[in-house]
């Protein structure tokens, strides 16, 4: 079977920064308190949902930011124990059992904040695990991040943040398939990638 190159495409023209994708991820992955794998950043003023005044015009847009699942991932290179690795579909995975909590991956990753660390025992406001049944348990002393919902990909489902988007701004699929929605969107519209000059070759594209 041909190798997949999984990618996510986010349409920033349609995105309204509603945080539905962030909540979907939070619940699906049973994230501990204060841990967010997908964050909505306001591109504008210094506070959430505030614009910037530029050349007499107000501007505001949103960037949803999670692990970029880089083809040329710096985190994979620096992990001393192989806890961070790329699977056969190009998804950067994190094995909590191998992770020794050295956080070199967090230093190496230029996408500040997409990797989160459990300094203490994970705490939850709900007294039982929520979200997907097959989500690995969170562990104190390990790094965690977006997995493109690998547990859902196993079942032929898309990541939890994709279908929920009220703006229909998020697409996911295989770039090696020219008929996939992601391939189509990248052909039809302009796109950019974050910190492209660093050579990380992210798997996330933002349509403009």
């Amino acid at each position: 079977m041909a190798e997949k190159r999984l990618a996510m495409v986010v349409d920033t023209v349609r995105c309204i920064g509603c945080s539905t994708c962030a909540l979907a991820c939070k619940v699906e992955n049973n994230l501990p308190n204060e841990i967010w794998w997908n964050r909505v950043l306001t591109v504008g003023g210094s506070e959430i949902d505030t614009p910037e005044l530029r050349n007499g015009h107000l501007e505001m847009s949103y960037l949803t930011l999670a692990c970029q699942h880089c083809e040329n991932a710096p985190c994979v290179k620096v992990c001393p124990v192989g806890a961070t690795f790329k699977n056969e579909d190009g998804v950067i995975m994190q094995d909590y059992d191998r992770c020794i909590g050295c956080r070199y991956c967090m230093v190496a990753c230029p996408y500040t904040g997409v990797r989160q660390f459990n300094w203490e025992d994970p705490e939850y406001d709900v007294p039982f695990p929520v979200g997907g049944a097959e989500v690995p348990a969170h562990q104190k002393g390990t790094v965690e991040k977006c997995t493109f919902c690998a547990h859902r990909l196993e079942d032929g489902l898309e990541p939890a943040c994709i279908e929920v988007c009220p703006a229909r701004a998020r697409t996911f699929g295989d770039l090696n398939d020219p008929d996939s929605e992601v391939s189509e969107k990248l052909r039809e519209k302009s796109s950019v990638q974050l910190l492209a000059e660093k050579g990380t070759k992210p798997s996330v594209y933002f349509l403009t």
């Binding site: 619940v27 204060e34 614009p51 960037l63 909590g101 196993e154």
Partner: protein
């Protein structure tokens, strides 16, 4: 080297690749456009070379062929966009704009990522020495070491020898081998039912009897599929540790916070005896049933729910209306009362129709936060139809950020702005002549003496309307005229008359964009004219009004203005054009008219009295209200019994509330707590609620109710489907659905036969009744409901007035009317009353009652306070959900930089917002989005969440004699550092 000037940026041309690369080395380019096959080198080498010189510059590649394979190749090789050279005229500018926008996005993103506080890394550096990597986990035992041990010992537990990255594969294999069991997950079809009206169909995922998540459950039509951040967070609402478990009664004074647990038996018998006592002492209508909008499940909810059914049997009073009623009232004035005098919410098109529009005006709504699921239809229209989006709002909201044109009027000036637009349409003759002549009262002659239309037979008010025929120079019946006049003044039998259009033109002339317009709205005249021309000519054009404009006392006049704009331009009754928003064809609309569900609502043939929520203030405090009495309680169009409102004794001494957070969501909170809910004024109040709120704090009795997923129901929203909600979870402790509470009360009070069916039996009856009343087969609808859990009440696509029959006395759009719609005593069942026109029958301007610079109070309180409906809550629901509080932790006040600086307040400070009615303390966000002179305190926080006070202390309960509607934004305040 050649330079061309584009509106976006100067363009420098390079002749060959080396000179291009030199250019890029030397200076920063916004974008590179390259004929990538024109250099005699492989395209990917060209792209590599460009990337090496300018790593983050967007590249637009030209191809000379439309073959998809080349586009694909070029994107993979590093192009950000590909343009077919033959289609460059259409595509290139858009691609350049996108590239520049993309560059901005990347730059901002990079800036953020580089400068972002990296607390974990700092903490990292600090702890590097003190923490040893081997001490992870509380016991020092990792899962791996445990597994090794148990495998050796043959423990037979759930052993997962984790192959990195694929624990689930191994888990599946173990499951298949029977070595382990995982509990199954059951899915239930439920509906999220709050007052966003989006009616999202969801799956409740249940494991071991517990809700573990919700997900989107497909609607019958994929374009209506929906879920939002709030709908995804239900787990934390179901398992809210503060949920009420048992009925409770107050001990000590009301509002004192002391409670005692009681049994349901005691609760029911107390309520029943209080109803009997109060009705016996003060009259049947003295006991009020006061639902609101907290639950749009039809059975358990507050709109045509079990509470109204019960109220009609005991002939109490149902309190309603007074919120969201001004703007629709004005629209109904022009387009006609629909659904037997029902609100005008349903006078637009169904939401999905917006995707076919070419010009969408969002006026007074922040839909990307408050009605999220209507956004994608607009986005589709912009992408696929080249539709333009105009947003009209004093605040630069997230919706405004998407607009092609953002118009920023002064708070409360919207009727004047609408008149400026109307003036432009008339002055520049941008009207749709055919529509105006045939479907509006434009040509109908009006007598300057009586203010009424001139009829063929002056004695007979049903005889034909007269127009001035320019071809004959005389007044003739409208259907005999060859060339009716729209303007001018004429003499008919010695009386001066004018076509209604002339009167509209005269009124609008007071608000030319250049004078009356800008003087009142602060909107630049050029912008008004540009917008008016766009609205009138880029058809079909859709008006999407929000309730932002409804929250000033002149909201009904804005409604009249908007409906008039649509009538003048013929943007009515066709796909992509709506005069009145995107709620047409909504299942909810059908339920707003009691006549559609008489069997469910009035099974005993007896009825409840109706009272408007603002009149309730007087009823509780004074025991008398000034109100009209409808001639026919079930038909508002039948008029009133008197020509002026009368002072009527109307004590309210007892109340039962459900689906309501009255004390938090109605204006003038101090007055509510101290006067309305004083033990002397209100002798008994019971509240059915799920967790503590500002309202339960003032109850005598609290009844614990179920979450929506813990009972059966049928839910309608402003999409076209009625949806079945299946009970997914057991009710915790002693919580009960509202239907069950009324069943117990009915048994106690001797009429159990009216509440002896299940929720779904009643639901099916309602489906049948509704479908029959709306013309679709009732039995078929019930079968569809049973089979699929969904019924579409109106066929797709629904747009109001497709047949151009307006529900006015003339059958035409009446921007000039002989009668006026009013909103009291209530909004249901006599939803709107009609009285002979007493005031100005045209769209006109009156300033807001409080929030206008002319008000002397302005000297003391110079800021207009409004309470945005943000994405973190729906009104006062979701205020306690911890996941959402992580992102939006506490009450804030948003101020403009000017107002903050003037008061020595900085971003992050705490500030007191105050006026003569009250005060509250908030965290400050300084935002360029806020117009100087306004301050935004987002809605929904409860008093216990404030350091001091509460935001609803600030608002006023003024009663406007026509719209009788709470004007929450019509509030003047000042702010000082706390």
């Amino acid at each position: 080297m050649q330079t061309i000037d584009l509106p976006e940026a100067p363009v420098v041309l390079a002749d060959n690749l080396p000179s291009l690369l030199r250019l890029l080395d030397g200076a920063e380019a916004g974008a590179v456009i390259v004929d990538v096959f024109g250099f005699g080198q492989p395209a990917n080498e060209v792209l590599d070379a460009i990337r090496a010189s300018a790593p983050s510059c967007p590249i637009i590649s030209f191809t000379s062929s439309v073959e998809r394979d080349y586009s694909e190749l070029l994107v993979r090789a590093g192009s950000n966009a590909v343009v077919d050279i033959e289609r460059a005229p259409e595509q290139l500018m858009a691609r350049i704009q996108e590239a520049l926008r993309g560059r901005e996005l990347k730059a901002q993103g990079s800036r953020f990522l580089r400068s972002s506080n990296r607390p974990s890394i700092d903490k990292e550096a600090h702890n590097m020495g003190s923490k040893s990597p081997s001490s992870v986990g509380s016991t020092g035992l990792t899962r791996r070491t445990f597994l090794k041990a148990s495998a050796a010992g043959g423990a037979g537990l759930a052993v997962v020898a984790a192959v990195p990255g694929t624990p689930t594969k191994v888990l599946h294999a173990l499951e298949a081998s029977g070595a382990i069991q995982t509990s199954g997950e059951e899915l239930f079809g439920v509906v999220c039912s709050p007052n966003c009206w989006m009616g999202c169909r969801l799956n409740a995922h249940v494991r071991d009897g517990k809700l573990v998540k919700t997900s989107m459950n497909p609607m019958p039509e994929a374009q209506y599929n929906r879920v939002c951040l709030r709908g995804l967070s239900h787990v934390q609402r179901v398992y809210d540790p503060d949920r009420f478990k048992y009925p409770m009664k107050r001990v000590g004074p009301r509002g004192g916070g002391e409670w005692e647990r009681i049994s349901w038996n005691e609760a029911i018998s107390t309520i029943a005896s209080e109803i009997a006592r109060i009705q016996g002492k003060y009259g049947k209508t003295a006991f009020a049933f006061a639902p609101m909008s907290g639950n749009y499940g039809v059975i358990n909810g507050g709109l045509a729910g079990a509470i109204q059914r019960f109220a009609g049997i005991v002939e109490g009073t149902v309190v309603g209306g007074a919120i969201d009623q001004a703007m629709p009232l004005g629209m109904a004035q022009v387009l006609g009362n629909v659904l037997n005098g029902g609100q005008a919410f349903g006078l637009g098109n169904e939401a999905a129709d917006m995707q076919y529009s070419r010009m969408v005006t969002v006026w007074g709504s922040n839909i990307t936060e408050s009605q999220v699921h209507n956004w994608h239809f607009i986005s589709d229209a912009m992408e696929n139809n080249g539709a333009k989006l105009v947003v009209i709002d004093p605040t630069f909201t997230a919706t405004a950020a998407k607009a092609d044109i953002w118009i920023r009027p002064r708070a409360g000036s919207d009727p004047a702005l609408a008149l400026s637009v109307i003036h432009t349409i008339i002055e520049e003759e941008l009207w749709d002549l055919d529509f105006v002549m045939n479907h509006t009262v434009g040509p109908f002659l009006v007598s300057s003496e009586t203010g009424l239309f001139v009829r063929e037979n002056p004695e007979d008010p049903t005889s034909r309307y007269l127009v001035w025929d320019q071809s004959t120079g005389g007044a003739v019946p409208f259907d005999e005229a060859v060339d009716p006049a729209l303007l001018g003044e004429y003499d008919v039998a010695g009386v001066m008359v004018s076509p209604a259009m002339q009167l509209l033109a005269d009124e609008a002339a007071k608000f030319t964009p250049e004078e009356g317009g800008v003087n009142n709205t602060d909107v630049p005249p050029d912008q008004v004219r540009e917008y008016a021309r766009l609205y009138a000519t880029q058809k079909p054009a859709f008006i999407y009004p929000g309730f932002g404009i409804d929250r000033y006392t002149n909201g009904h006049l804005t409604g009249r203005g908007l409906a008039t704009m649509a009538a003048l331009t013929g943007n009515v009754g066709v796909s992509g054009a709506s005069p009145a928003g995107a709620m047409g064809g909504g299942a909810l609309m059908a339920l707003l008219d009691p006549a559609n569900v008489m069997g469910w609502l009035f099974p005993a043939g007896t009825f409840y009295g109706s009272m408007n929520y603002l009149l309730l203030y007087d009823a509780l405090i004074k025991g008398e209200v000034e109100m009209y009495t409808p001639a026919d309680p079930l038909n508002g169009l039948a008029g009133t019994t008197t020509s002026e409102p009368q002072m009527v004794p109307y004590p309210i001494k007892g109340a039962f509330l459900n689906t309501s957070n009255f004390v938090s969501n109605f204006p003038n909170q101090n007055k509510i707590e101290q006067e309305l809910f004083s033990e002397e004024n209100l002798e008994f109040v019971a509240v059915a609620e799920i967790r503590p709120t500002d309202t339960t704090a003032y109850a005598d009795m609290i009844l614990p109710i179920t979450h929506w997923f813990e009972n059966d129901d049928i839910v309608g929203g402003i999409h076209p489907f009625l949806l079945r909600n299946d009970k997914a979870l057991e009710a915790p402790f002693e919580a009960k659905p509202d239907l069950e509470i009324f069943r117990l009360l009915a048994e106690e009070m001797g009429f159990p036969e009216y509440f002896d069916k299940t929720a779904q039996e009643y639901a099916e009856g309602i489906v049948e009744e509704l479908a029959n009343n709306l013309g679709e087969g009732g039995a078929a609808a019930v079968q569809q409901y049973r089979d699929t859990g969904a019924v579409r009440l109106f066929p797709y696509p629904f747009y109001s007035f497709a047949d151009k029959n307006f529900y006015t006395s003339s059958g035409r759009c009446e921007f000039y009317a002989e009668w006026e719609t009013l909103n009291h005593p209530a909004t249901s069942p006599a939803t709107v009353l009609t009285v002979p026109m007493g005031g100005n029958p045209l769209p006109h301007f009156e300033p807001p009652y409080e929030a206008w610079p002319d008000n002397p109070l302005f000297e003391k309180y110079p800021l207009v306070n409004y309470q945005e409906h943000s994405k973190w809550r729906i009104h006062s629901q979701w205020f306690q959900v911890p996941w959402l509080r992580e992102l939006d932790p506490e009450p804030v006040v948003k101020l403009s930089p000017e107002d903050a600086a003037q008061r020595g307040i900085e971003n992050g400070d705490y500030a007191e917002v105050f006026n003569d009615r009250g005060q509250a303390t908030f965290k400050v966000i300084v935002s360029e989005a806020i117009l100087a002179g306004m301050c935004n305190t987002p809605k929904g926080w409860q008093r216990y969440q404030f350091k001091e006070g509460g935001y609803q202390e600030l608002t006023n309960d003024h009663k406007h004699p026509i719209n009788m509607n709470c004007a929450f934004f019509d509030t003047l305040v000042d702010v000082r550092k706390a």
